[in-house]
C-alpha cells in the first residue's frame, strides 16, 4: 500500500502532459487511418467554412466600403448648398485642421431615370484620393477641362478629346475617371470652383478630436464608424448569424457521426482503459479526434474559400460596382468561422466522449454495442423554451405601436430560443415512433423502434432537420402573410416582356437633346426643355413600341381612387381605366365582365375585402380633381380577372367604363404599357431609354423584387434541401448503429426488401418528424409575432395557408427521402459490413 502511494506521489495522478500527448498522438493517428470514415463531417465543416468565407466576403464587399464618401478623412459633413452655415463651418474647420471641399450638382441623364453629377474636386486634395482614380488621360487642370466616368461617357457618347457643354460651359474631355469605392458613381469631374450652384457640398476634414464638439453645433458630423453603426444588420452581422446557425446544424449532425465513430472504436477504448487510461484520457481520445476534424476541416475550408474568392473577385468587382482588394475579407468572420468550426466539432464530439466513458470496460472490450440508454426525457423543458419564444416574439411584434419596429432584441432572442426548444422536443417526438410502430410490418417496426431506442443519434439528426425546416417555414409563412395583403400589394413591378412609360418632368436647366447623324445624343444649342403635349408624348410612346416591335397600351388614369385598410395596411397602387383597348390587349372579352362591376382586378382576394371604398372627383388626399362631382362608393362591385397583369406598376386594378359613366369619372393618359411577345433584352431597354429621352418619357423595366410565390418556393426548396442533406448524412449513421441487427436479419433470411424498407422508413420517419417539428415551430413563431402586430394584420394574416408548400415539406420531402433511401439501400453499405477498427 505504501509502495503504491509513494509511486502515486511521484507522477501526476492522471499522467499530466505526457499522457495527454500520448492520447492526442493516438487520436491523430486514428484520424489519419480513418479519415474516410469521418469524411462526411470533414466535408460538412470544410464546405461550411469555405461557404462562409466566400459568402461573407461577397456580402461584406457587395455594398460600398464603409469609408466610401470619406476618402482618407476621419470626419465628413454635408450641406444642401453653399449656405452661410456651410461656409462658416468650412472656414472654422480649415482654421482647426485640414479640409477638402467637394461640390456636386445633380443632373438627369436624358431618357433615363438615372442621374449624374457635375463634381468639383481637387484630384490631389488631402483626403479625396481613394474616391478618385484615373483610367485614361489626365485630370482636369483648368475650367475648360472635364474628366468623366465611363457611365457618363457612354450616356453622352463622349471620349477624350471631344468637347462637351456641361454646367453651362464648353469643356474638353481630358480624362476617364472612376470612383474606386463606387463604380456606379456617374460624374463629370471639374476643377474646384466650377460648380456654381451646388446641390450638395461635402466637407472632408480632420481636426483634433477636442475640436469636434465646437464644430458640431448645428451640423451633423459623420465618421465611417457612425455610418457603419447606423445599420445594425450589416452584412457581417448577417454572415455571423448564418455562420452560427450553420455551425449549429453541423454540430447537431456531427454528434451522430462522432457517436458512431466512438462506438466503432469501443474496443480500442476498452483496451486503453484496460491498460490504465482514466475517463479523462478516454474523453480526450474522442474529443481530440473531434478537434482534429474541426481543425483539418477549417484549414481546408479556409484554403478552398480563399481560392474561390480569388477566382470570383474579378467578376464580382464588376457586379459590386467598386474595386475590392485581394485581402478585403471580413477577417473577423473568417477567424470566427475557423474557431466555430473547431468548437462545433469539439462540442459535437464531447457528448459521445462523455457517453463512452460510461460504458463498462468489459463491455467495451467485447466490442458489442452497449444497450441503448433509455431516455425518459420530458417534453416540458422544450415546451418552456417554445412558450418563452412565443411570448418574446409577441412582445417584439407589439412594439412600436403594433408595427414591431422597436423589438429587434426580443425578436432575435425569441428566434434563438426556438432552437433549444426544438432540440429538447426532438427526443419526445422520437418516442412517438415506438408507439406508432406497434402495428407496423416487421421492417418498419424495427426501423421505427430503432429510431426511438437510439435517440442519441437520431435525436441530433431530427433537431437539425427541424431547424432547417423551421427557417424555411418562417420565411414561407412571413412571405405568404405579407404578399397575401391585396391592398398593400407587393411583388415585381412588371413582367419581363413589359415596359412602363411614364411622363418625365424635364429637369431644370437642361438643354434639349437630340440625336445627331451618328446617333449620338447632343444638346440643342440655346434650347431649353419644354413640356411636351399629350400628342407628342403619345407619339414618343408609339415610337418606342414600334422600335421594340411591341404592342402599346395607353393607360388612362381616372380621377378616382380606392381606399381601405386590411391587416393594418392601406391600399397602395395606381388604378387605371378598363378601356376597350386595355381589355383587348390582355385578351379579356366584354362577355367576361360583369356588367355591374365597378372595378376589375388581378389581385387575388380583393373582391372579398370589406370596407374598400372608391372615391372619385378627388384624390386620396381629398384634393378636388378635374372631372365630375366628388363622391364615394363604399361598396364598389369588384370582379377578379386573372387575365389582367399582376405587376405592381402594371394595370392590375382598373375601373370599368360602367363605373366611369355611373360616377361621371373623367380620365387622362399619363402612362403607357409596352407589351412585347418575349422578354426585352438590356439592349432593347437601353434603346427604349434613348428614344424616351427625346420624348420626355421615362422607361420603367422589370425590377429585381421577387414575387411572393418566388420567395415561398425558394424557401420551401431551401427547407427541403437542408432536410434531405441532413438525412443523407445521418440515416447511414443511424442505421450503422444497428448493423449487427442487419447482419442477423440477413442471416435469418431477410431479403433486400427488408433492408430497403428499414432504410426507407428510417429516412421517411426522420424526415416527417423533422418537418412536423419545424412546421409547428414555424407556426408558433409566426403566431407569436403576428398576434400583437397590427401592421401586418395580426394572426388573421396567416389565414392564407401556403398549403401546397407545406404539403411538400411535410409529406413530399419525407416521401422523397424514403424513396431515395429505398433505392440506395439496395446494397449493404460498406460501413455496415466493416468490423469495428481496433
Amino acid at each position: 500500500m505504501d509502495d503504491f502511494r509513494l509511486r502515486s506521489e511521484r507522477r501526476p495522478s492522471e499522467g499530466g502532459i505526457p499522457a495527454r500527448r500520448a492520447v492526442t498522438h493516438w487520436a491523430w493517428r486514428l484520424f489519419r487511418r480513418e479519415w474516410r470514415q469521418q469524411l462526411l463531417i470533414l466535408a460538412l465543416i470544410t464546405v461550411a467554412v469555405a461557404a462562409t468565407i466566400l459568402g461573407s466576403s461577397v456580402a461584406v464587399n457587395n455594398p460600398p466600403p464603409k469609408d466610401a464618401g470619406f476618402g482618407t478623412a476621419p470626419y465628413s459633413a454635408s450641406f444642401a448648398s453653399y449656405s452661410a452655415k456651410a461656409q462658416t463651418f468650412i472656414a472654422k474647420a480649415a482654421h482647426l485642421g485640414t479640409v477638402q471641399v467637394i461640390e456636386n450638382v445633380t443632373y438627369s441623364i436624358p431618357g433615363s431615370i438615372n442621374t449624374y453629377q457635375l463634381r468639383s474636386q481637387d484630384a490631389r486634395g488631402p483626403f479625396g484620393g481613394p474616391m478618385l482614380s484615373l483610367i485614361n488621360g489626365h485630370y482636369p487642370s483648368s475650367a475648360d477641362e472635364v474628366a468623366v466616368t465611363n457611365g457618363v461617357a457612354s450616356a453622352f457618347h463622349l471620349s477624350i478629346g471631344k468637347t462637351w457643354k456641361v454646367g453651362g460651359v464648353n469643356r474638353d474631355v481630358v480624362g476617364i475617371v472612376q470612383n474606386p469605392q463606387s463604380l456606379l458613381d456617374a460624374f463629370a469631374l471639374v476643377v474646384p470652383g466650377q460648380v456654381t450652384n451646388p446641390s450638395q457640398v461635402t466637407a472632408l476634414f480632420d481636426v483634433p478630436a477636442s475640436a469636434i464638439r465646437s464644430l458640431s453645433e448645428g451640423v451633423q458630423i459623420s465618421t465611417p464608424a457612425s455610418v457603419a453603426a447606423s445599420n445594425p444588420l450589416n452584412p457581417e452581422t448577417i454572415s455571423l448569424a448564418a455562420l452560427v446557425l450553420g455551425m449549429l446544424l453541423i454540430a447537431l449532425v456531427s454528434i451522430g457521426g462522432f457517436t458512431v465513430l466512438a462506438q466503432r472504436r469501443m474496443r480500442s477504448i476498452g483496451m486503453l482503459e484496460s491498460i490504465g487510461a482514466t475517463d479523462r484520457h478516454v474523453r480526450l481520445v474522442v474529443s481530440a479526434n473531434g478537434t482534429v476534424v474541426g481543425i483539418v476541416g477549417a484549414i481546408l475550408g479556409l484554403i478552398i474559400g480563399f481560392a474561390g474568392w480569388l477566382a470570383y473577385r474579378p467578376s464580382f468587382e464588376q457586379s459590386a460596382h467598386h474595386l475590392i482588394g485581394v485581402f478585403a475579407l471580413p477577417w473577423i468572420v473568417v477567424m470566427l468561422a475557423i474557431v466555430l468550426a473547431v468548437l462545433a466539432a469539439y462540442f459535437a464530439s464531447s457528448r459521445p466522449a462523455r457517453a463512452v466513458t460510461k460504458i463498462p470496460i468489459v463491455h467495451a472490450l467485447s466490442g458489442r454495442p452497449a444497450p441503448p440508454r433509455q431516455i425518459h426525457r420530458s417534453a416540458v423543458p422544450g415546451v418552456v423554451f417554445l412558450v418563452a419564444a412565443f411570448l418574446l416574439l409577441g412582445y417584439s411584434g407589439g412594439t412600436g405601436g403594433g408595427n414591431g419596429s422597436g423589438g429587434a432584441p426580443e425578436l432575435l432572442l425569441g428566434l434563438v430560443l426556438l432552437t433549444p426548444g426544438l432540440i429538447l422536443l426532438a427526443p419526445f417526438f422520437l418516442s412517438l415512433t415506438e408507439r406508432v410502430s406497434r402495428r407496423a410490418p416487421i421492417a418498419a417496426r424495427l426501423a421505427l423502434r430503432d429510431l426511438a431506442r437510439y435517440r442519441a443519434r437520431s435525436g441530433s439528426a431530427l433537431s437539425a432537420i427541424s431547424i432547417g425546416v423551421l427557417i424555411s417555414v418562417i420565411v414561407v409563412l412571413a412571405a405568404a402573410s405579407r404578399f397575401s395583403n391585396v391592398l398593400d400589394y407587393a411583388g415585381p413591378n412588371l413582367d419581363s416582356n413589359q415596359l412602363a412609360l411614364h411622363t418625365a418632368f424635364p429637369p431644370h436647366g437642361v438643354n434639349i437633346v437630340h440625336r445627331n447623324a451618328k446617333g449620338q445624343l447632343v444638346p440643342v444649342p440655346n434650347q431649353k426643355t419644354e413640356t411636351a403635349t399629350p400628342a407628342q408624348l403619345a407619339a414618343g410612346a408609339g415610337q418606342i413600341a414600334k422600335g421594340l416591335n411591341a404592342h402599346l397600351v395607353a393607360l388612362e388614369s381616372p380621377n378616382a381612387f380606392l381606399s381601405g385598410t386590411q391587416g393594418g395596411r392601406n391600399w397602395s397602387g395606381q388604378i387605371y381605366v378598363a378601356t376597350p383597348q386595355l381589355l383587348r390587349a390582355f385578351g379579356i372579352k366584354a362577355s367576361e365582365i360583369n356588367p355591374k362591376a365597378d372595378v376589375l382586378t388581378s389581385r387575388p382576394g380583393l373582391s372579398g375585402v370589406s370596407g374598400l371604398a372608391m372615391g372619385y372627383g378627388t384624390n386620396s388626399k381629398k384634393s378636388v380633381l378635374r372631372g365630375g362631382p366628388a363622391g364615394s362608393d363604399r361598396h364598389p362591385l369588384i370582379q377578379e380577372i386573372s387575365a389582367l397583369p399582376s405587376g405592381t406598376s402594371a394595370p392590375n386594378t382598373v375601373i370599368t367604363e360602367y363605373a366611369m359613366k355611373r360616377f361621371h369619372i373623367s380620365m387622362s393618359t399619363s402612362d403607357w404599357l409596352v407589351v412585347g411577345t418575349q422578354s426585352f433584352t438590356a439592349a432593347q431597354i437601353s434603346s427604349a431609354q434613348l428614344t424616351a429621352s427625346t420624348a420626355q418619357l421615362q422607361v420603367e423595366s422589370r425590377n429585381d423584387i421577387p414575387s411572393g410565390s418566388t420567395i415561398i418556393n425558394w424557401a420551401t426548396l431551401f427547407g427541403i434541401l437542408i432536410a434531405l442533406g441532413v438525412l443523407a448524412m445521418s440515416v447511414g449513421l443511424v442505421r450503422s448503429e444497428t448493423s449487427s441487427d442487419l447482419r442477423t436479419l440477413a442471416a435469418t433470411g431477410a431479403s433486400s426488401y427488408t433492408r430497403r424498407t428499414l432504410t426507407a422508413v428510417t429516412a421517411g420517419a426522420l424526415g416527417f418528424l423533422g418537418a412536423l417539428l419545424g412546421v409547428v415551430g414555424g407556426y408558433i413563431a409566426m403566431i407569436g409575432w403576428l398576434r400583437s402586430n397590427s401592421l401586418n394584420g395580426g394572426i388573421s394574416a396567416l389565414k392564407d395557408v401556403p398549403f401546397g408548400d407545406l404539403m411538400l415539406i411535410l409529406f413530399g420531402m419525407p416521401a422523397l427521402a424514403a424513396i431515395v433511401g429505398w433505392l440506395l439501400a439496395s446494397r449493404e453499405p460498406a460501413v455496415m459490413g466493416r468490423q469495428p477498427i481496433e
Partner: protein
Amino acid sequence: MSMLELRSVSKRYGQGANEVDAISDIDLAVERGSLVAIMGPSGSGKSTLLTIAGSLEEPTTGEVVIDGARVSGMSRNDKARLRRRSVGYVFQDFNLLAGLTAVENVSLPLELDGVSMKKARAQGMVALEGLGLADRAESFPDQLSGGERQRVAIARAVVGERSLLLADEPSGALDSVNGEAVMRMILSACHGGVAAVVVTHDAKLASWADRVVFLRDGRAVDETLPPPSPEELLNPDAPNPA
C-alpha cells in the same frame, strides 16, 4: 504479503428471474513470483474472475486486494492508476491499439502515467528487446504475426514496475509453438518477481503453473499442484516451486 488477494468474491449479473451467479465466494491469493493457472469449462467464470482481479469489473460481494491496496474503495481514476502501475493484462486477441507502433503500444501505459515520451520509449524498447522484438518496434500491429502481437502484448503488460500479470487465454489465438513461447515468457516474468494469473483451457500449458485452480459453475472446485512439467522431468533436481 500476496500480490493479489480475492476474498469471498462473487459476481452476479442480471436482475430478478434473469439473475446469474458468474462466480461465487472465490478466495484466491497469488504471491509475487508465482504463476497460477485458472481452468474450467466455458461459462465457469474464469474470465469474470480475471476481469475482477484486474479491476476491470466490480465484484458484487467480496474484496479484491492488489499489492496491499483494496480495490473496492478506489475511485475510477485510482483504479486506472493501479492498472497503469501494478497490473498488466494480456488478452487472447492481443488488444493492441491499431494506430500505434509496437513500441508505442508498449510504452503507452508509461506515457499515460506521466513518464516522458523519451523515457517511456526507452523502457518500451528494453521490454521489446527482452522478448526478441527490437527489430519490429516500429511495425504497426497489422504488420505483425499473431505470435509477435502477443509478445508485444506481454511486453506492454510487464513494462515498467508492474508486478501483477493477468492473462486471459494468452495462447488461445496462437499455434502450439507460439503458445508455449508465450507461456515461457510469462514464466520468465514470474521468475523476475511478477505474480501471474493465467486463464487457459489447455492442460498442457496449465502444467507450467505453480498452482492450478479449477472452476465450475462459478465456484472453485479444486486447487492442485500441477504434475511435473517437461522441464522438471528433464531436470529432476530442479526445486518444485510449490
